[in-house]
């Protein structure tokens, strides 16, 4: 069965990065984000779309409703989790990765951005002040890409500015794009980490539709690191394909010729995973993709993953590549992996999720003191309870 490529090609030629409509909710018409969205935007209620692809082309700036700040939804005590926090400022994404869980998740698919930055910050302040000793890493990417395309990337500016005043918080922007220009002149004071999800060009071309090609991402990394932002790297999801070793080695080398290891605050590694229901969704939505045809098994968290020995081989290989380019000092961790996998890959594992949280805080404090001024206290982190 030869893969059909016509669907993917139609996305490439499709004016996929242009919004068909931009709407601003009347309650947020005076916010900075609304102003950045420009005069062409309509004011009114959101279009309330339900088609996943259609929703990606319609942007809606909305007031904050309900709580947005919480610990990463993947947290599962049977796996080692980095206990990052998220604030869901964005929902849906103009990009279209074949493996994206949003295709099976969103009810209202309109690309929505919460324009009420002040309200978001108030919620974060209130919740993080309960544990002033703890370093909170807070991402905006749970349900979308933090910086995908203009004017979405500009929505992050307000948060970057606000995070300067939040002592125990770091803002994590995560993207597969390259639209970083609006960030370059912002006075961030090292409190924002700009991170990239990275994959070899073969995967970007085939599976991460509409995202920036690797060279553009590398150029953007170079720009933000010159602007003093710590850079985070997420080799996640690693995807198996013929020649993956060569491709991932080349990828690591290209990244670390664009930025120095000293600019890299942390590296996470994970592999492709999705719910069983997603398998058919991916196959129907992206018939050209073959990612679901690999050998996978169902884990305790109801996600299909490559076989454990295969994952261990992939992670160990990547770790080796990272060490080869002199980046062994960067804090490197596995995302949503089992304790036994940590042991096989690193020769050790954290004692608990709290312990990993502590190790990350300590590494940030030691390597990026401007980002985390206070040294973390181990016993407080070990007292954290999860799940």
């Amino acid at each position: 069965m030869k893969p059909k490529r016509d669907l993917k090609d139609s996305f490439r030629t499709f004016e996929n990065m242009k919004f068909r409509s931009i709407t601003i909710h009347p309650k947020v018409r005076d916010t900075e984000i609304a102003k950045r969205l420009g005069g062409t935007a309509a004011v009114g209620p959101g279009p309330g779309l339900s088609d996943y692809r259609q929703g990606k082309r319609h942007l809606f700036a909305t007031p904050k409703r309900g709580e947005l700040f919480h610990v990463c939804a993947s947290l599962d005590p049977r796996y080692v989790c980095c206990s990052t926090h998220v604030v869901s400022q964005i929902s849906n994404c103009p990009f279209e990765c074949t493996y994206c869980f949003l295709q099976n998740y969103l009810t209202d698919t309109t690309l929505t951005v919460v324009a009420d930055t002040r309200a978001i910050i108030r919620e974060i302040m209130q919740k993080t002040s309960e544990q002033p000793w703890r370093l909170f890493r807070i991402g905006t990417w749970e349900l979308g890409d933090s910086l995908a395309v203009p004017p979405l990337n500009e929505a992050a500016i307000g948060l970057v500015r606000e995070f300067r005043n939040l002592d125990n918080c770091i803002l994590k922007l995560r993207t597969k794009g390259s639209a970083v220009e609006p960030l370059l002149d912002v006075d961030h004071q090292g409190k924002t980490v700009v991170s990239w999800t990275v994959n070899p060009p073969e995967i970007i071309r085939g599976e991460e539709i509409g995202t920036a090609p690797l060279e553009e991402r590398l150029r953007a990394m170079e720009l933000v690191s010159r602007a003093g932002y710590p850079v985070g790297l997420h080799f996640d999801p690693m995807i198996l394909f013929k020649g993956w070793e060569k491709a991932y080695r080349k990828l690591v080398r290209s990244i670390f010729s664009a930025i120095g290891p000293e600019n890299c605050i942390w590296i996470s590694i994970g592999s492709l995973r999705f719910n069983p229901e997603m398998k058919k969704k991916i196959e129907n939505n992206y018939p050209f993709s073959r990612i679901t045809a690999q050998e996978m098994v169902l884990g305790d968290d109801n996600k299909l993953r490559y076989l454990r020995p295969v994952r261990e081989e992939m992670y160990s290989f990547l770790l080796q590549c990272i060490k080869e380019v002199g980046c062994g000092e960067c804090f490197t961790y596995l995302c949503m992996e089992r304790w036994n996998v940590w042991e096989k890959v690193f020769g050790r594992s954290p004692f608990s999720i709290g312990h990993l949280d502590y190790l990350m805080a300590r590494s940030v404090h030691e390597r990026f003191p401007e980002t985390a001024k206070k040294a973390p206290e181990k016993k407080l982190y070990l007292s954290l309870r999860y799940g």
Binding site: M1, R290, T292, A293, V297, G299, D300, R308, R338
Partner: protein, 329 residues
């Protein structure tokens, strides 16, 4: 049209070509293996047509009369070359009454998803408005009255006849039938065609479809190429009982779909057998090889068995075996 003298004054003798057979659902049902016409044919052969063919009242004149009942009699008559047939024009003058008539005629006998799907599809093709389908028809079939569900049934109706027949035989649910609609047609047909060689249950059909589809996608081959594989041909052609062949075929497909996992499972199994084949306890592990966990279980019938158990548990062989097993996790 020649009028007969009959008390109802409504029965005519008519040439078969003047009759419109487009509402013939009995033929569809026959393909599904639901209708058995042998008794009727026997009676027609013996007695010829005893009761008239029914037609709707709203078509006629220049247009052929729309038959609503008596399709089998009509087909029989055509087959025998009868020149004229008795026909009764009913008082059914609009689509709403017509659908009521058809529902009364067919819906009670329609069991299972495949038959219902074909009936709904037949009504669509007969030009009934969607609102009549989501209203009266779905209600009469005992289905929830909503458009999404109708579309799912109509999707099922697009499956090839052989597959629908199989779904009907096995009484597949809507979910299972729908699942089949997403499988490659060629593959489905090929598996159904292999029914003489492997005994197919609903779950096995779906499992084979899913696994073979993944193998074909991964290896970029098509159905023909898959069934031309030497190992596949060998298993399907082996002379053995159908149950055994089915088991072998299923194992082969799993092996091809999960080559690394089955190899590792075999290795773990071999280690377990080598160390524990005559142990007083049984050894189990996570078949997905995800969890680092070996479970030893034991059943004691008598206290005297305890010492044997203790001895086995503390032996160096047990320790070595467990160490080797754990090294796989």
């Amino acid at each position: 049209m020649e009028r007969l003298s009959h008390p109802s004054e409504k029965i005519f003798l008519i040439v078969p070509d003047r009759l419109d057979l487009s509402l013939d659902f009995s033929q569809i049902l026959e393909k599904l293996g639901v209708e058995d016409s042998s008794n009727l044919i026997k009676s027609l052969d013996e007695n010829s047509i005893l009761s008239p063919i029914l037609t709707a009242g709203f078509q006629g004149g220049e247009k052929p009369l729309l038959v609503i009942d008596g399709f089998k009699r009509l087909r029989w008559a055509r087959g025998r070359g009868l020149a004229r047939l008795p026909v009764l024009r009913t008082g059914i003058m609009d689509k709403e009454r017509l659908i009521l008539f058809l529902l009364a005629k067919y819906s009670g006998g329609l069991k299972g998803c495949a038959a219902k799907a074909l009936f709904l599809d037949y009504l669509v093709r007969a030009g009934f408005h969607r609102s009549l389908l989501t209203g009266m028809a779905m209600d009469a079939l005992g289905l929830e009255k909503h458009g999404g569900l109708l579309d799912r049934y109509l999707r099922v109706a697009e499956l090839p006849g052989e597959i629908l027949r199989f779904c009907h035989e096995k009484d597949f649910s809507l979910k299972k039938c729908l699942n089949l609609t997403y499988q490659p047609r060629q593959l489905l047909e090929k598996i159904i065609e292999s029914r003489r060689r492997i005994s197919l249950s609903a779950s096995l059909l779906l499992e084979l479809c899913d696994n073979i589809t993944d193998i074909m996608r991964r290896d970029q081959i098509d159905t023909h190429e898959f069934f031309q594989r030497q190992d596949v041909k060998e298993v399907l052609c082996t002379r053995m009982d159908i149950g055994q062949r089915t088991r072998l075929f299923r194992q082969l497909v799993i092996r091809l779909r999960f080559p690394v996992l089955t190899r590792l499972q075999d290795e773990v199994g071999r280690v377990s057998r080598a160390y524990f084949h005559d142990s007083p306890f049984s050894v189990r592990w996570d078949e997905t090889l995800e969890n680092r966990k070996i479970t030893l279980s034991v059943t004691l019938r008598d206290l005297s068995e305890l010492s044997e158990l203790k001895e086995a548990l503390s032996s160096s062989e047990t320790e070595e075996g467990l160490k080797r097993l754990l090294s796989y996790f």
